[in-house]
Every structure is written in structure tokens, then in C-alpha cells.
Symmetry: C2
Subunit: 375 residues, 2 copies
């Protein structure tokens, strides 16, 4: 809880649920990351929170931007950012969106398949392209499945083919999984990437860039290592695998820049027990899985809570306000809240600056999407 | 695929992804349900699809409405429906919303806990209230967890307390789980309810209403019994447990009224393999879990697909277009699609009239919410 957020809540007492984001925290996180990884160029992952206030501020601080779609590119351009600071980082793009972006001056594209490469060759001729490697993501709270990336031997062949199609084979990207807590995962991924650099060199292709993706954590319920530890792990692995010949490094932080900047205020709508024998109270909030807390899916992200009162605590199930029975936040990961908690109390959900506002359903059960304030 | 939807797609060739709903199908489903369950009053579960076109048409046909929130009540009232045809069916309500609804003439409220009953007594004095029973929901594709309802002995005590607080203890509700495929679940639930009627009678309280909830299925990938079989199962159980003294019956269909009325057209954005050894193709559509197909969560609802081409088929993983690795539709439930499928092809996702439009995220990854047309 920062002083600015505290002041805003005290002054405005906004209707709940609402998210308050402190832009200064994001600026600090951005500056800290630049200090920790001075050799890396920061591409903010717009999907984490595309609020114009955030994009504008990071643009003025000099950040580049990783975008997932044409509308995200439009939002970044609208803040006065030049297209050379934009990466179209989604490996799944409609060809007409590639052509549109290329016409606007965007010149850096992700891919992980032959079909995507062919679209790029047709609709963004000569563009810089990077291939995403498939990683296993062990240790990530929000792991990445096999949806993105391809195996290393296919990546090598595709980068050769990129050259043959008239594109510029620019680099390799990977993602170790969002909220990754195992530092050794970067060593594995960077080692794999360095091997590909060597193999492609033998084929006459000099890759220039390694895109380390995101994965740096925000601070949820469990303790995480400080960003400095992550940066050290990354730089040690870079030096170990690339020696003195470091390629251009790109990082794509989303969660680690904006996650900690936001506090979500919610109201306790109901506290109930299901039977007389039940030790567990059900605590229903006015926000749930469909109102912005989608990352509680399978209880993946475990937010910290700030609740009024103290004294004895007891186990609770936390759930949202909709008539959807899947709208439960935490049932298996038992949370414990004061026995004195009552209907109407305000609860603050910490580190909710990332992956909340845009995850909110458009009108599910009639509930409006999450309202957000940027201070 | 109805003739009207076919014609609309041919005439307008709308941008994908989009949902086309045939209102005639909904009217037919509504009329059929009234024929099958002539003694029951239909309360359409607005949350399934709150489009004004649907609410208006069902209102004119004489339907009543089950609502989850103040905005849903406002939408129904805006279609000229009188408040005596509205049930505020969410057991989790802010007290100010109860007061607002009561002031508008809504007089029928759900509850399942003492705290909710106290809110109702204060803010809707004298209103008709019904208590929701906790059911186990075996056999439901979208089961209901323990989020709603309370155990039978608590329900009995709460209905007695409702009377003591000056409310009218009106009835019992339950929900056997959405897309329920086991017909015997209704017998169990109706039997439990009848026992409560008897027990409360002994306490001097004559309940008037049994709310059978929803749970009637739409037609997804697996075959389901026709609505007639469900109606028979329900009426047999009603007669078995209540004899000639049938209470007022309420049903709250959502999925079974509107599910089959909608067809979602999507485009194949990319087809890729992850490695050379991989037999499975990844097929990426321009709609996914966050664009309206949220019910593919844990692969619960298995939609039928209509794709161009025929000939040999092979296994696919179906995924959405966002950079979110959780945005996968079907990976474990293997779908098989023609080997001739190609990027740019249109795919039609059937029976998507329910729980799609309002589940869409507001702007996730920059993608606009699902566009829908009602014809």
C-alpha cells in the first residue's frame, strides 16, 4: 500500500470493486530493471496492463513495447511511441494484421512455425524475425503449456528458411513461464539458445538478438527472490554460454513491472456456512474470477490480502459474486481470515496491477468490468 | 445451422469471430418447454445470454426471468417486463441492491444463509424468499461446487427464521448442475425438497413453490437425452414425492433455451507443429477462452465444430489467439479435423448461444469482445 494509493482511497472512497495503480511504482520497477540489466533493452509486455497512463509513462521513460495484436500496437502508437520500439510478439497473427503493422513501420516479428514464416515473407518482406523456442517451464506459477514455440531443431531450420524467404533471421526468444521462481530455468534456456546461435553460424547466419521473454515475478503470497537475484542468474548464464560475444538482449517484463503497482479494493458481500458442522466460512466478495481475477484459475496466482480486524483467524473459502459455481477464488489453498470479518468490510487484494483489468468479463451476470484508477 | 443463420452469413460475411443467434430457435425451445412442463412457470436465466433481443422476445412470449444482479434486473425491466415476473435468484446480493430491487417491485428473492436472510428482512420486508439447497451435482458437465446452497437441516431452520423475521417463506430451490446428463439427479433433489415441505408443514409453514433450477442440456459434442425425457423424469419425481398436492413449479432454463440457437464463426489463424515427430497439429483460432469460450475451462463444455473439407482427419489441439498459454480450448479431449484444413478457413462452433458473449474479456491482449448478431 503506497502513500499515493492510500491517499486516493481516503479522498475518493470509490465504489468497489476497483483497482488503484500507483504509476510511480511502475517507473521505479522500470528504472530498477534497467539498473540490474543494463545491457538489456526492455520491451514492456502490453498485455499485462495496457492502460494509456502506463504506456505513455513507460514510453517517455524510453521503454520499448511487446505487443500481442493490432489494437495493442495502435494503443502504443497513440502514445507517441515510434514503431522501431515495437515488437509484434505474438506467434499467432492474421496475415492482414502483419501487413497492417509492417505498413505502419513495425519491423520486428515473432514466429514459431513455417506457416507463420510464410505469412511474414509475403506481408512483411525483409522484416526482422525471431523464432520462439519451446521451453518446459518447470517452477512457474503460471506455466506456459506447449502453446508457444517449437523444438530447437525445427527452430534452426525455420531460421534458415527465413533467410531463404528474404526475411532477416534476427534472433531467438523463449519464455520460462510467468512468475517463474526457479532461477536455473534461465540457465537452461540461455544454454539452448547459445547452441542454436552456434549451429546457425555454421549455416552462415549470424543471429543478433536473444529475447529472454518475461517470467520475472511480482510479489504474491509466497516469498520470491528479489529482481537482483534474477538479473544475476540471467547475466551469469549469458556470460557462461556466450562469453564475451554477448548478443543484443531483450526482456519482456509485464507482471514484474506493473503487478506490485496495483491494489484492488473489494467489499465482503456475504459470509456463510454451508452446514452447522462446517468449520469453513464462505466469504463472497464483489469481485471474482470473471470480474478481473482470472489468474486465480486453478488457484494459480495466490494474491496477498489486507483485511480489517485482527485477533483469531479461521479458514475461509473465497468466492466471487456471480451465479457461476466456478467463480471461486481459493478453496484448496486455504486462506485464513479474522473471525471478526463481517459483511460490508473492505478487503484489499495486493499486487493486482497485472493481468486483471483486461481479463474482466464484459458483462457477465450483469456485473460491469473492473474500474481502474491510475494515480 | 438454421436457414436464417446460413442466409445471414452468406449475405453479410461478417468479420470473425462473431456469434449469430437465431431467435426463432429460442422461441421454439421456450414453447417446447412449456408443452413438456405445462405445470411449470419458466424463469429464463438471464445470465446465459442477456441480449435485449432475447429478453424482449421471451418477455412477449410470457416468460418470467431469473436474474443475478441489479444490472440484469434493469435490462429485463427495460424490455417492459413487470417486476412480478422477476426473481432475484443470486444468493449473494449487496443489501443496497436488494433494497433497490424491492423498491422497483421485485418481490421474490433467493437466499442460502442467515446473513442474507437478515439483509432481506431489513431491506425487503415481507418479501417472498426461497432457500437454496446444496446438491452434489453428480453427472453435470459444468458442476456446481459447494458455492451455492446449504444443507437441508439448515435450510429448514432458516425458513422458520424467515417467518420469524417477517418474510414469507415461499419455497425451496436447487440446481442439479448445468448440462446435467443424469436424469436420476432430479429424483434425488425433488425427494429432498418434498421432505423439507413436510418438515416445515409440521412447524406451521406451508411452502408454496419448488424451484427446479436449470440444468437442462444443450447439444454439444456428446449426445444428450431429448428435453422430453428430462421433463418426464421431473414430472415422475414430482408425482412420486408430492402426490396430488403439487406445489407451484419454477424452472430456470438458460443453456437449454439459448445454447442451440447460436453459431460462432471463427477463422483459422495458424496451423503449426511443435516438432518434426509431432503427429498433432496445433490449430489456432481467432477466438479462445478469453474471447467468449470460457466454458472450455478444464475442457468442460465440448462444442461441436463444423469445418470445411473432408477426407482424412488427424488429431489437433485447438487454441485461441492470445499470448496467454492458458488460452487452449481442447488438448486432452482430442479433436480430429481434416488434414486439408488450412490457414484462413472458417470454422463454425455450434451451440454457442449460451455463456459466450458475456464471458468475453473486455480487451484481453487487445482483442475486442465477441460481436453478436440476433436474427
Amino acid at each position: 500500500m503506497t502513500a499515493k494509493i492510500y491517499q486516493f482511497l481516503a479522498d475518493h472512497q470509490p465504489d468497489t470493486p476497483c483497482l488503484i495503480v500507483d504509476l510511480d511504482v511502475i517507473a521505479e520497477n522500470y528504472n530498477a530493471l534497467n539498473r540490474y540489466l543494463p545491457t538489456a533493452r526492455v520491451f514492456y509486455a502490453v498485455k499485462a496492463n495496457p492502460a494509456p497512463e502506463i504506456l505513455g509513462m513507460l514510453g517517455r521513460l524510453g521503454s520499448s513495447f511487446d505487443t500481442a495484436s493490432r489494437p495493442e500496437i495502435e494503443m502504443v502508437l497513440a502514445e507517441g511511441v515510434t514503431p522501431d520500439r515495437i515488437s509484434f510478439g505474438n506467434t499467432i497473427k492474421k496475415e492482414r494484421d502483419i501487413a497492417w503493422a509492417f505498413a505502419r513501420g513495425v519491423d520486428l516479428f515473432a514466429f514459431d512455425s513455417e506457416a507463420e514464416l510464410e505469412k511474414l515473407a509475403r506481408s512483411a518482406p525483409g522484416a526482422r524475425v525471431f523464432c520462439r523456442l519451446l521451453m518446459t517451464c518447470e517452477g512457474a506459477d503460471w506455466p506456459l503449456s506447449r502453446k508457444f514455440g517449437c523444438e530447437a531443431d525445427m527452430a534452426r531450420d525455420l531460421l534458415v528458411r527465413a533467410r531463404d524467404l528474404g526475411l532477416e533471421p534476427y534472433g531467438i526468444s523463449f519464455h520460462v513461464g510467468s512468475q517463474q521462481t526457479r532461477l536455473d530455468q534461465w540457465d537452461i534456456a540461455i544454454g539452448k539458445t547459445a547452441m542454436l546461435f552456434t549451429e546457425l553460424n555454421a549455416a552462415g547466419i549470424e543471429l543478433k538478438m536473444i529475447n529472454l521473454g518475461g517470467g520475472l515475478p511480482a510479489h504474491y503470497r509466497d516469498e520470491v527472490a528479489p529482481v537482483g537475484d534474477y538479473s544475476n542468474a540471467i547475466m551469469n548464464a549469458m556470460t557462461k554460454h556466450f562469453g564475451n560475444n554477448l548478443p543484443l538482449m531483450i526482456v519482456e517484463p509485464g507482471r514484474s513491472l506493473v503487478g506490485d503497482s496495483g491494489i484492488l479494493e473489494a467489499e465482503v458481500v456475504l459470509i456463510a456456512r454451508k452446514s452447522y458442522e462446517d468449520a469453513v466460512r464462505w466469504v463472497y466478495l464483489d469481485i471474482g474470477k470473471f470480474g478481473g481475477l482470472a489468474e486465480t484459475m486453478d488457484e494459480a496466482i495466490k494474491y496477498r490480502l489486507q483485511v480489517p480486524g485482527d485477533g483469531d483467524c479461521g479458514p475461509v473459502v473465497l468466492a466471487g459474486p456471480t451465479c457461476d459455481s466456478a467463480d471461486i477464488l481459493y478453496e484448496k489453498n486455504q486462506y485464513s481470515l479474522p473471525m471478526s470479518l463481517k459483511v460490508g468490510d473492505k478487503i484489499r487484494i495486493l499486487a493486482t496491477g497485472a493481468y486483471t483489468t483486461t481479463y474482466a468479463a464484459v458483462n457477465f451476470n450483469g456485473f460491469a468490468p473492473l474500474k481502474a484508477y491510475y494515480v
